[in-house]
Amino acid sequence: MRRISTLKDKLTGKLLFPQDTVTKKSYHTLTIRTDRDSGIIDEIIIPELPENVHAVGYKDIKGRKYLLIAGRRIPILVKDRVSYAGEPVLLLCGPDKKELSKLKNKIQIVYEEPQSSDEEPPLSLENIEEEVSAEESLIEDEQPEETPSKEAEEQKVFYRRIFHRGNTTDAFNEAERVIHGEAETPGQASLSYPQPSAFTKKEGDKITVHYSGRWPFNLRNNIASACSMNRENVRVASSEYTGVMDAGLYSHHLPAVHSALLATQLKKNVLVSYTAEENFLYSPKRESIRFRWSCALDASGRLLGLKIFIEQDAGAYPILCEEKVDRLVEGVTGVYRCRNLTIEGVSLKSPHPPSGAFSGLCLSEALFCAEMMVCAIAREGEEGQYLWRKNNLLTRGNKSNTGHILKKDNYTDQILDQVVRMSDFERKNSSYRLSALMKNKRVDLVRKKGIGLALGYNGNSFITNRKDLMTASIELELDKEGQVCFKTSAVPENSKLLNIWKNEIRDSLAMKAENIFISESTTENETDSGPNILNRNVTMITPLLKQACQGVRDRRFRDPLPIIEKKSTRRISVSSWDNENFKGNPYPHQSQCAAVVEVEINPVNLTCDIKHIWLLIDGGSIIDRDLAIKTIKSDITSTLGWITREKIEYRAGHLKNEDFYDYKIRPILKKPAISISFFDSGKKSPPRGIGGLVYKCLPAAYLQAVNQAAEARFTGFPVKKEDLYNCLVKS
């Protein structure tokens, strides 16, 4: 019933992850993977195995042979058709790791035919009719011949969303000018700790699976189906998450199901633990996304209409692709008004590992494109970056692009004004623009400076409004001994959140801290608190806890003990958000942010230094200021890693071992200077979740600043030294 969470416990190494819980008698597992990204497996040649070594393949799975995540499937082990390089084919399990390594080298996978690129996709995918609905790309006519729409036709489309508002055809016909542009965001690996791993303990008919993911109930259901077991006999326990990236939703599912399968079949305790290299090469990653856009402008540079085409590289299996594409389509216009819109988003199949659930579920990428687009439009007009934004913001009384009327003040204009004042944006922006215009008169070796501005928001709920994603329950029990137990399967991002929950119970029920217990994140006796992502701990679980405390308080001296209060949330009502017709307000708990980034390029060694970051956060009332600042600073380091150096580049569908050694994550650094402020509207509002907010505004502000400093038009990041060389020296 206790979660180890004190700093001293952590400092002295008492907190254990699944790979730490293994005992001497446990069996280890090596995963045999495909070395091709497509093709059909004809045969797997396995050498004669010692008595205590076992090989488990597709045919040995007794129950359901795939994982089911938000209505989409991933095979647990490949049957015959290969979808990406490194897909698991066979599990080799035994007591001695060394022996397993030797045997692994003797296993051969024989393919039926040579690798070919024009194969059919696996037929097991759900919603197959959507794949071939293949409506003509709406903005195809506007694009040059080698458009991604053509490529999209060649590739397989997992999901497509087309959104219209107003009349774009008329808007483009009336336009004085039409400008085109592109934006792209790169893939990123999750090298956060712990690596995907799971340890399954067999106890009679029951199994306990220790893993480090954040969706224990979904994993339990998948394990029960794969192993043909009763759900009651499967207990899933989540370890404390290290919380530096957002990829723990389903990337740990496969090793966990593998471990449970082996444990039930061999009747042993089994550990499946990926190495960092294995994790880098084969685990889910942030997807790369490409945007192409066209804007219709009138003579004064006013925006008349927009056409945007978005391609998301979903990888081999389309997990959460509906959610991601819908978020892309909703978010790609940012916080700005536009009367005439046509947006098409597609999720494409590729021979890469399935895309992961990274921060914002693609909303960060959408907002990056929105701000880069705004920057290009503002350049065309006379208003300048700040004024264009100010004049086109969605504010109170406006109709959002999804048809929702903003009844309350969202303070976006005040946030924009404040961040501009904080950073002295207007003066610096004018000064750097002037320096660029006077470039002929200045010495070439002068450091080049630039400044960028961006606005963003957090969509703290699932836009697809699916029941399995949206529902969450918690339970609060006051027992006869006067102790309170808070039961939830939610995995806290850090231990401070546990203290916040404890303090809430203590203050609300006037209890002593030693009588308050928070149950471990397990599926046994706990209630399903849903997938732990998108700040749900703050926006959903904490309010539910408050309601439960209120319920216990009301019944405390009326009802006999024990008092049990269960609280649940449901889906957003269709009147608030209609996902099918894409109408309404998809994010009731929206938090906002604004960022200004100042960079300096050294023309001698071509380094691009970020000098200062200003951030203004509007996350409602802040429960713990220190925790909020820590979250933001940690997000800044991760975001800077993504935008300055961490980029996944597949070579012919593969990542090579040397890519792992070349891929360096960004460490925490002394620079840049960071100024963080919290917006105070003067009115009390509930906490709205600030985790991941930095991803929504920092990338666009950074790239705009680099573009200004380098006098370039980079469309994506990271900007490498050779790009700067081409731009500054060659030109």
């Binding site: 190494g13 790791k97 700790y193 290290t242 919380g243 530096v244 994550i665 460490p667 925490i668």
Partner: protein, 158 residues
Amino acid sequence: MKFILNINGKDTEIEASSDKRLSEIIRSDLGKKGMKSGCNCGNCGYCVVLLDDEPVYSCLIPVFSAQNRSIITIEGIAQKSEINNITQGLKLAGVNLCPACAPARMLSIYSLITSRHSVSDEDIEETVLSTNCRCTDFKTLKEGIFFAAGMITRTEND
């Protein structure tokens, strides 16, 4: 091959190939799971141990080179009085480390503070950057180490 390793003051005999990583020996053969092991290539810095009182990445140390040298793991210093001071110092600065990097950071800070009479800015910065985890920020951690160093000096003076 047989090796004798001095782990946390005790001589322990182990059998392993001479090029096996010290981190693997400590975690798998000796069962000391307090120290975490991440990348196995000296990038993440989670596997810090003290080798002759100097912090090193144990994933880069082959077992043969650790023979006849003192190896201190996080379990070896967990009960020391300095740990309380370091914890208090970090807490005071608002440092909330993640469970993955915390043991490595603790060993580096312990080594820095106990091996020197005074610590310089550069020493602290080197210690901060020795573990490549993004769960905290540079300034806060640096402040935490300053506080911890101050607490230990004060305790010694008392």
